[in-house]
Amino acid sequence: MVGDLIHISDKALDTQRVTELVASPAAGAIDVFIGTVRDSTQNKSVHRLEFESYDSMAIKEMAKIVNKASEKWPVIKMAIHHRKGVLDIGDVAVVIAVSSPHRKAAFEACQFAIDTLKETVPIWKKEVFDDGEVWVAAHP
């Protein structure tokens, strides 16, 4: 089922579908995090983003996040879908959905997942501005 729950796609992500993947009769709470492309960063206007992914490793690192979260919290199901390629303002870059019996664990596991994804998953984001482009977080 990892193929469904963990996914990297060059097509638009389907938030509703990712949410439905984690639904369960045992769940009292689902938390869904959606990362979207902002129109600006540090007061500079952003034209678009370009995401590049090392797919095989990124899938493995995302599976590790699901496993780690499931050890720390009573996660029923967790799904992580990440977009790659060219994204415009408002497009969805990542969707993380977590179901749990109670809400506190759902929030904490979801926040843990996006925080860890940003640290460990080999995906790279280039911001394209009017006057150039920059690989985000590459330099200190």
Binding site: A93, K118, V121, W135, A138
Partner: protein, 77 residues
């Protein structure tokens, strides 16, 4: 020879999506080589190496059939 994949800013610095290196060297040795050849790598927040889709420690020896990649600072999400 081992093919070393490049992503993100690493691809831009080398101006290629991969390069080849000798097998039998350590991860640390590989990092040194690429920094020596392309000093811009030393300006990055970090330079990590993945071997067979896992982050590899400096003393790991790279084998002929390993899947190797340079991992510049990630920025997904």
């Amino acid at each position: 020879m081992v093919k070393v994949k490049l992503f993100g800013i690493a691809k831009d610095i080398v101006s290629a999506s991969y390069f080849e290196t000798d097998s039998g060297i350590t991860v640390n040795h590989l990092k040194q080589r690429i920094i020596d050849k392309h000093p811009s790598f030393s300006d990055l927040r970090s330079v990590l190496v993945a071997v067979n889709d896992e982050y590899a420690l400096d003393d790991v020896v790279i084998d002929e059939n390993d899947d190797v990649a340079i991992i510049p600072p990630v920025s997904g999400g």
